[in-house]
Point group: C3
Chain length 495, copies 3
């Protein structure tokens, strides 16, 4: 019996029960989803004013489903690359994401709540935001993949999402930073939180001691399974980055993200073969670095960066990511004793920081001549204050919701502030969470159990013996047991 | 030569030809798809009234594609979990679904036809409804998976879909029951029809005699393939349940289904580890029971069940499903000689009955204060009859299409009636169909051929010998042929 | 070190840099994606006229994402069917598609450009068209799959897409042919270009000499991976064919494509078992011929072909395709020394020619009584010329944009002309490109390296030895090395 799972089921049910009670006291339907509200309705029997406003579901449902696929198929399958950890990758991804979207809805209620005290009005946008917040947790999961128990993951999710919501609130509502694709608040936060947790948990120290783990590798099929994740992430990233904006902003976000990803993909292939001794492609790069363009363009994705700008960002993102996977990741392990299973630092961390810097630069050069009046929608804090002399000079500006009268430079500064604060909160939060997860009652895994499904899953008979009796296999005398097969074709030379 | 397939191709072509002739006499395009009709048009060269009505394609196309993915990827890959039956799972799923959507369009023409005699006006909604009807057949396929010939499946589909259409017509149009997510008409019907067919075919009796079938198990890769199906079903289930409703009803259906699935998923993981002796997760539960929340909320998905209510339904659905897989399925086989390959009773049957009961309860407590006037859109039979005294009291009600003046209790009763009648028709229909499929000319499979692709498919060379020469393998002397591999399974003769 | 890849990375970066420079000089955002343009905007703070026109993103985004999935998941996974070429199939598909969509945007700028000199206004439609154009390249890739280096593929893409754009311009704008689903301009062009290139490269000659290649086959898992591609292509094909049309035309294209595919799928299964000696299904047919209905209906997909007509087209497409795979493909290799890895001639070539002919027939019988005034939108060249006597007879016709006053027969002739010209340009272009790719500096692959990932990829340890030391394996004495495992982990205790 696996003692780390003892009580896990009971704790999970308790958490779910608590969430249900919270939802019962706090959550209601958004007016567009409520039968009694006369907006976004469709009752053909009723007067027309009941249904003249388009239900927001129609606008956001397709993009919501794209993001939903990214979170559950994309992240889930991307992490199946480990040869013996496929069940856990896709399974725990599903579990912690399903739990976390609920928790995220509750957390967001404290800040973005509707009418009344911490009241949450659930709409399609709420579900979409919950999926986006969950992406941060799944990025952190990538850093500790294969080295934690499900209970540790659940606890990590509860803490991380609470912190995520605070940090996002701070960045978006207090600093009034723009980050439409979530590169700062999702990718940077998720990656550095995960790295902090991994460091505090001491996984790197454990792994770098003694012989390497054969299980920390891929197999031919597991690499192809992972490509399902990669390609779906690659395909729907334009939806991810544009999900929460509208109109021409959304259109621009789709175009810029698509272009950035194409250039990033080409760059990742080029550099992957260039950094390789044998001039071969490395699946790790193709599975991950091809996506860095989606992260790198995230903050500026709906800004006027122009098509060529988006392509350049993609090249930078892809380059940074391949360099990270090829050079930096190993250095982290040997020098910092920091182990990062999926290399989230290379896909989400560094490209996210790059995105934050590019966003600040673009904010710093944004002018009314480039954006028209929609400059003040992009950066609401740049709208003139009430009774500002600007309004006197240009009466059109009186139409705007008053802002803080920030200059372009001010906005750039606040963008960098949001990035810096996110880094600090993420690293500190990750470290503290890692220390919490390290208490003996939670931290039950030994090095031998790393990257191995058989510790948590009932495993098909075909690979059970292999999983569970590694020593016996190593004792094979070379005659009676020549080959052990995990997962595929036997080519018997005797035939 | 496999004799059960002799003539199969010819019969299939004959069925297709018959369908084409029927379509030629009965089917036309819906006005929104017809060039001569001036609605939903887009001819920019023509006066504006030609195109002012939005084409219904735009409203339903995204949700149609989601359901399309569920039916062909979701069901297809979910059934690939058997280690040696992947080709048949995904292949026969494609074949019978492709045939059945055509047949379903014809069947629906008899009841829901357009203008003229049994005239079918095909629109995107027709295609969507055909996909939904096909889901019922694929659920029944799950009960008999691996134990029938393709010809038996084709015949089962023709009978089942005709009965499905009758039962749905009875429930929706005569009893005026509500079942937006199809939990009664699709899931309960499909599951109990399949169970009836399996019982009548005597598969359980065959399987429970003699030694168990090693082939009725999964391999490491086949389990991961199945998770592709699971996760896509999980992701698009909100679209499935909300596909045929609009406005705030659709919005509510998406929210409730999403929430129910998240709670169900968490519950399935918790109970899977709790019921396991070793406190490990069972892939069967994760692949299936995580989805039961989508079924359980189906009937009430667009009712005012509130977010916490949806979560509770998810917990109940997930619990029922894990209990079904862990305790009830084996009891069915040993006590009733009823074999259910995919456990459709646990994923679709019991959670579907639960959904029907929850729907009846929600209908029984539905009031105008909760729904406003849209109560009479949710439950059209509750609208007052023409010249009713209710209308005199509340003149707003005169705007409504007259109904039957049902009370909440009446409606609840009709909901239960629809559930009960569905159960009876499904079980009886399944039993009769099973007896028909049992005639010797159709029922050609022996127990040794169960769960084995090689009976119907040309198999890649790597596993051909294993598939076709089981005896030879068993004769291995332990020296020259140590291991036999099938795509996962190691059958070590030394053991 | 693999010399064919030497310099590959540098060339790729150079191509990307060139594209970026071109984009910087030529490309801007479409007005619906531009902050300064007051259309399709969403700035709630601004006067209503700023945002009253619906952004075209909303109309095309869902269908764009469907096509995006087809191009990258559909084509990519369909080609993973080779047992040892999965990394290359999905990886090179991603690489050349990502490069080509950029190049295609530039190429289209020369013909379909916006304001100014070769100015490209990028919108969601631009991205969608780039994806469609890329499909042609990926079809050609299918013909040479496993036999070319990535550098050859990149060069082929640059040439092919330039020619593709010329041919499409000629067909659509000069000949004014209709081809909404791209069967002529995408499928016929891509298939015959690829066949021409394969012939000129002499792959067939190489392969038909000496013993066959064991690696040119599938494994059990690789066939199931390929089915991911098949099913997603099958599911989203209605979106592919209808992507560029609107209103009732789009609706009709969805219905016709869906119906054609269902009938094609049933036919492919029937014929696959009928042509088989053992009456078994062949995975090659199921993976490919089930899709031919989508190609065969492509040109006429939005014409008034009626539901039964669409079904008949599906039957013809599926039949032609199975016949092609079963009889014609082998004859091409033995008689013409033409090797077609994926059988693109059977899935895209012949069904595409069929589509072109059906399109011409439908155009030849199209009348105003069937189409109303939208006849002149379907076939703009049939609209009367300015001051035509037709307009005098029917004043409604004066509303139309003047055309060339073509008769139905004229239009049919131009349809056939477009088909014929496409065939000529594709074959000639493919042959010339093949000869270019044959120069020694580019054409580095030996027969032994065909269909083998290990030539271009760092391969997981489990199959590395097998990939790289085929001779050693063949020397196994039957005692010390009993089994070789491909496609997953070999744990040889003798190591």
């Amino acid at each position: 019996m696996d003692k780390t799972q003892y009580g896990f089921g009971a704790i999970l049910l308790l958490v779910e029960a608590t969430i249900i009670i919270q939802m019962a006291t706090m959550a209601d339907y958004h007016s567009h989803a409520k039968a009694t509200d006369n907006v976004g309705n469709n009752n053909a029997q009723l007067p027309k004013y009941y249904r003249e406003e388009e239900n927001i579901l129609r606008k956001k449902h397709p993009v919501f489903q794209d993001v939903h696929v990214m979170v559950f198929i994309g992240f889930g399958f991307l992490m199946t690359f480990l040869k013996k950890y496929g069940f856990s990758a896709i399974g725990f991804n599903l579990l912690i994401a399903a739990l976390n979207v609920q928790w995220s809805i509750l957390c967001s209620g404290f800040f973005h709540g509707g009418s009344g005290h911490h009241h949450i009005d659930i709409s399609i946008t709420t579900l979409l935001s919950a999926d986006l917040a969950t992406a941060a947790l799944l990025i952190s999961f990538g850093a500790v993949l294969g080295k934690t128990t499900p209970l540790q993951l659940v606890i990590m999710g509860l803490i991380e999402t609470a912190l995520f919501t605070c940090n996002e609130h701070l960045g978006l509502n207090i600093f009034k930073a723009k980050d439409s694709g979530g590169s700062i608040f999702v990718h940077v936060f998720g990656a550095y939180f995960g790295l902090g947790a991994s460091l505090a948990l001491g996984h790197g120290k454990t792994i770098s001691q003694g012989p390497g783990l054969e299980k920390e590798g891929s197999s031919y099929n597991s690499d192809i399974f992972a490509m399902i994740g990669t390609v779906f992430l690659w395909l729907f990233w334009p939806s991810f980055n544009s999900a929460l904006v509208d109109g021409d902003d959304q259109h621009r976000a789709v175009i810029n993200t698509y272009l950035s990803l194409t250039a990033c993909c080409v760059t990742a292939f080029a550099l992957s073969s260039l950094v390789s001794e044998e001039k071969k492609f490395d699946m790790v790069h193709i599975q991950n670095a091809t996506l860095a363009g989606g992260v790198a363009i995230g903050t500026a994705c709906d800004m006027m960066i122009y098509p060529y700008g988006a392509l350049i960002v993609g090249v930078l993102g892809g380059s940074l990511s391949v360099i990270g996977y090829h050079y930096i990741q190993a250095a982290f392990l040997s020098n910092l004793k920091l182990h990062d299973t999926c290399g989230v630092h290379n896909l989400h961390g560094m490209p996210g920081v790059l995105a934050g810097i590019i966003g600040a630069v673009m904010a710093g050069v944004a002018t009314e001549s480039q954006y028209g009046l929609s400059l003040y929608q992009q950066f609401p804090a740049r709208a003139p204050t009430k009774n500002s002399s600007q309004i006197h000079d240009n009466p059109q500006l009186s139409l705007l919701i008053p802002g803080d009268g920030r200059s372009a430079g001010d906005q750039a500064g606040y963008q960098l502030l949001a990035l810096g604060v996110t880094l600090v909160i993420a690293v500190a939060g990750g470290l503290i969470t890692g220390f919490i997860l390290r208490v003996p009652v939670l931290n039950k895994m030994t090095k031998e159990q790393y990257f191995d499904d058989s510790h948590f899953w009932e495993i098909p008979a075909d690979i059970k013996s292999h999983h569970q009796e590694p020593n016996k296999m190593a004792e094979g005398d070379g005659k009676t047991v020549e080959a052990f097969v995990y997962d595929n074709t036997l080519i018997d030379t005797a035939q």
